[in-house]
């Protein structure tokens, strides 16, 4: 079990109803974490979602460690 922090932005922040949360998870990777939270919150269908761990883009296979900050990144729209 890892104790991690999640921040939600934009469409995910509005969908979940808060900007972040801390949680204990048995997910081994950030991909498994996404699946776990999708089961809980039923995330909206989105295009290619990316993920950042501790403020860097990472693969979905990245292992979760205690204290990680995880951010799911829905399709961006700057400019």
């Amino acid at each position: 079990m890892a104790h991690i922090r999640i921040e939600y932005f934009a469409v995910l922040r509005e969908h979940v109803g808060r900007a972040g949360e801390e949680l204990h998870t048995s997910a081994a990777t950030v991909g498994e974490l996404y699946a776990e939270l999708d089961g809980r919150y039923a995330f909206p269908a989105l295009g290619q979602v990316k993920v950042a761990v501790n403020d860097e883009f990472r693969d979905w296979s990245t292992p979760l460690r205690d204290g990680d900050l995880v951010v799911f990144i829905p399709p961006v729209a700057g400019g």
């Binding site: 921040e7 932005f9 934009a10 469409v11 922040r13 509005e14 990777t29 950030v30 991909g31 996404y34 699946a35 909206p44 269908a45 989105l46 295009g47 290619q48 979602v49 993920v51 950042a52 403020d55 860097e56 883009f57 979905w60 296979s61 951010v71 990144i73 829905p74 399709p75 961006v76 729209a77 700057g78 400019g79």
Partner: protein, 151 residues
């Protein structure tokens, strides 16, 4: 030195122009994105930019660093607005100086293109009809890259 910044307040290019002024570089190319009163056939009343700032600053810096690697430019800077914007507000500014205009134009174009697709910034349009939506997520989601289910 920082080459990418977010601004939570309205800003003008003049405020940042000094960052790219260079006595050895006579060519200055810039791009500005302004909030339009319509998009994709719908009337827009205002819009909202939300950024994941910690990662956005890093990715923005990487984009500008890549422009320096690819093109012989003197200076470059990009500023992106966050928060609530009104019609006509400046959303993003890119300024590049170079000895030759080829490089200035190419680098300016590179930076705006990459910033738009890579920096974690999200845009919510508020429509005249009263509804609103996150672009590329709830609105025009078909324009976003095809979904890849995380595993």
């Amino acid at each position: 030195m920082s080459h990418f910044a977010f601004s939570r307040e309205p800003f003008t290019p003049e405020r940042y122009r000094a960052l790219v002024t260079d006595p050895v570089a006579g060519g200055y190319a810039s791009f500005e994105g302004w909030v339009r009163n319509h998009n994709d056939g719908r009337g827009v009343q205002r819009l909202e930019y939300e950024g994941y700032e910690a990662l956005g600053l890093k990715e923005g810096e990487r984009v500008v660093a890549e422009a320096f690697e690819r093109f012989p430019i003197a200076r470059a800077h990009c500023v992106h607005r966050l928060g609530l914007l009104e019609i006509g507000d400046l959303a993003v500014w890119v300024g590049v100086t170079a000895a030759h205009r080829d490089a200035a134009f190419a680098a300016c174009r590179y930076i705006i293109d990459e910033v738009k697709t890579r920096v974690p910034i999200w845009k919510k349009e508020h429509y005249a009809a009263g509804d609103s939506g996150w672009i590329n997520c709830e609105v025009r989601a078909a324009d976003a890259p095809a979904g890849s289910a995380p595993r």
